[in-house]
């Protein structure tokens, strides 16, 4: 292990390390801690300029209720779910299929198609912006959840295909050959042999895509524009404009917006990191 395991060092170093660890963490998360503390301050504290001292009162319930009653944040959150959940499902369906096709079968254009999916991941969104907005208007889905669902599904399929295909390539190919010898049809092989083995990949991508889509801001501003359809990222931006001096409410809103992906991350940590670090190890 590198660096030298701390158990093998002198007691002095061990103590310093154990003290440094929590201090480093607090410094690292200081901006977030500040937001969390501010979200439970009273309006009085904010106007009096008491941002960094001890709160004069703890207004956890008041502030969080105020955010929900004084702003459409409940609607924003709902909109985010309406976009995120279908996108995750559609993307997984599409990429399980493309990953299967590219991972199992050998045909001439296989690698070219694979590389087009991979390359698509890296292009700047701006080159798609005008045509995709146009397309959404022509399809009649502009300013609805569907505008975002369709685009995100298509775009994320690129990354997910890369992931799924590499995952399937690592499965033992003998399984498929054995099934073929038994006379199992290709479609049944997909359904009964490959798909059950893909569960870890599906879990990893589900959490990853959920987080990516939930946190998307750019497309939310390009494809939606009213409070009835805007996801929480775009909503938070407009709330920030309205609540100029109400930092306790902005902070509470930020925490609410950040919560779903954070919960997702902590519940599915292993899968999340497996997805994110794809390719970091040979």
């Amino acid at each position: 292990m590198f660096p030298t395991p701390i158990e093998r060092t002198s007691p002095g170093v061990r103590i310093v390390y154990k003290i440094a660890l929590p201090i480093a963490l607090i410094l690292w998360l200081l901006p977030l801690i500040a937001v969390a503390v501010t979200s439970i301050r009273s309006a009085g504290d904010i106007t009096a300029g008491n941002y960094w001292g001890w709160p004069t009162s703890f207004n956890l319930l008041e502030n969080y209720t105020a955010v929900f009653t004084k702003s459409p944040i409940g609607q924003y959150i709902l909109n985010s779910f309406k976009v995120t959940i279908p996108t995750v499902i559609f993307t997984l369906v599409l990429s399980c299929m493309t990953g299967f096709a590219l991972g199992i079968y050998r045909f001439r254009s296989n690698l070219i198609i694979f590389f087009i999916f991979v390359a698509g991941n890296f292009i700047p969104f701006q080159i798609l912006m005008v045509p995709v907005r146009d397309l959404s208007i022509n399809l009649g889905v502009y300013n609805t959840s569907w505008a975002l669902i369709l685009f995100h599904t298509a775009f994320q399929t690129g990354f997910c295909t890369l992931f799924m295909r590499n995952f399937i390539r690592a499965l033992p190919y003998e399984l498929i050959e054995a099934a073929r010898v038994e006379g199992v049809s290709e479609i049944r092989i997909f359904w009964y042999v490959v798909l059950p083995l893909m569960r870890p990949a599906i879990a990893a991508l589900a959490v990853l895509i959920f987080t990516f889509i939930w946190n998307d801001y750019f497309w939310a501003t390009v494809l939606t524009q009213s409070a009835e359809t805007q996801p929480v990222t775009a909503g938070l931006y407009s709330l920030n404009g309205q609540w100029v001096a109400a930092w306790h409410l902005v902070s509470a809103g930020s925490i609410i917006a950040a919560l779903p992906p954070v919960l997702m991350f902590f519940l599915m940590q292993k899968h999340f990191i497996a997805g994110l670090t794809l390719g970091a190890v040979k």
Binding site: A24, M129, A154, Y237, N240, A280, V281
Partner: protein, 299 residues
């Protein structure tokens, strides 16, 4: 047996992949591949997004060469790119710090990773507030040392650096997790061999560990470069391109031109997007070439 079923049976192996590829390829073509070409074409027109298009050839690109704001954005993109790469050594440093087995280290690792999980909108709001000249934490701390408050986001000299610092926060977390995974897979025998050869500290890191972390470093460079060139969210949230457009980057300037309150200039915006795309193509080509070599090695 009908002839269709017989045909399917005979050609199953050849047809199945295309059947499975069709829906994904269709969506990807409609929403990603074709729009790239459409943007190239739109960039040759003068178009407000609603009315008739007027073909103007390369006039939009000619206009770009004479556009002060374009050069400001381009310059800021270069600054972003260079400084964003700091996330890689910073991430490695944090990963080395956390690569221990003391109790609770798993929780520490996840909490260090936290900034990457939350939306850039929230990161932007948090940092905008951190920098606030009258009550932001940064200026409170500076005040303790007797330094006058600095309005980072309102000062042309500091604004881009201030936003990049905010972006480095989640990006460092991302690089950290890549390196933690990489460190996990480092061959312990090589470390022992290095120790026997008296390699310690920096020498060990440089000659034994880093070569083994190459795949992690490669991914870290790729995602960081792409992240730097894609920077949009933080700028939009923290400054809206200001003050006086000095914190714009190409991605933001394009959006502003295409959807600005002064009228939609889709053609001009598309031309900016094409320039950004071509810059990014250099990196995409590099990445794909490397991947292509790996893929065709075994064949």
């Amino acid at each position: 047996m009908s002839s269709l079923a017989a045909y399917w049976k005979a050609n199953q192996l050849r047809l199945t992949p295309w059947l499975f590829l069709a829906p994904g390829m269709f969506m990807f073509a409609v929403y990603v591949i074709i729009p790239i070409f459409q943007s190239f074409s739109i960039s040759l027109y003068d178009w407000d997004g609603l009315g008739a298009r007027t073909f103007i050839g390369f006039d939009n690109y000619v206009e770009l060469t004479d556009d002060e704001a374009f050069y400001t954005s381009l310059k800021n993109n270069v600054i972003w790119l260079l400084l964003y790469l700091l996330a890689i050594p910073a991430g490695l440093f944090v990963a080395l710090f956390l690569n221990q087995t003391v109790t609770g280290i798993r929780l520490y690792k996840s909490l260090f990773f936290f900034p990457f999980v939350i939306s850039q909108v929230v990161v932007g709001l948090v940092f905008a507030w951190f920098y606030d000249p009258s009550y932001g934490l940064m200026n409170v701390v500076l005040g303790l040392f007797g330094v006058e408050p600095i309005a980072v986001l309102a000062d042309e000299r500091f604004v881009t650096y201030g936003i990049i610092a905010a972006g480095l926060w989640p990006q460092t977390a991302y690089c950290m997790i890549l390196y933690l995974t990489g460190l996990n897979a480092v061959d312990p025998e090589q470390i022992e061999a290095g120790r026997l050869d008296n390699a310690k500290g920096w020498r060990m890191l440089w000659y034994v560990i880093l070569p083994q972390l190459k795949p992690a470093t490669f991914i870290a460079i790729v995602v960081t470069v792409i992240g730097a060139l894609r920077s949009f969210d933080l700028i939009s949230i923290m400054t809206d391109g200001g003050p006086y457009g000095t914190s714009r980057v190409l991605a933001f300037y394009m959006y502003e031109q295409a959807f600005s309150e002064y009228g939609f200039r889709m053609g001009y915006g598309a031309a900016i997007a094409v320039v950004l795309f071509l810059i990014m193509m250099i990196y995409i080509a590099y990445f794909l070439r490397r991947m292509w070599r790996e893929e065709t090695e075994g064949l």
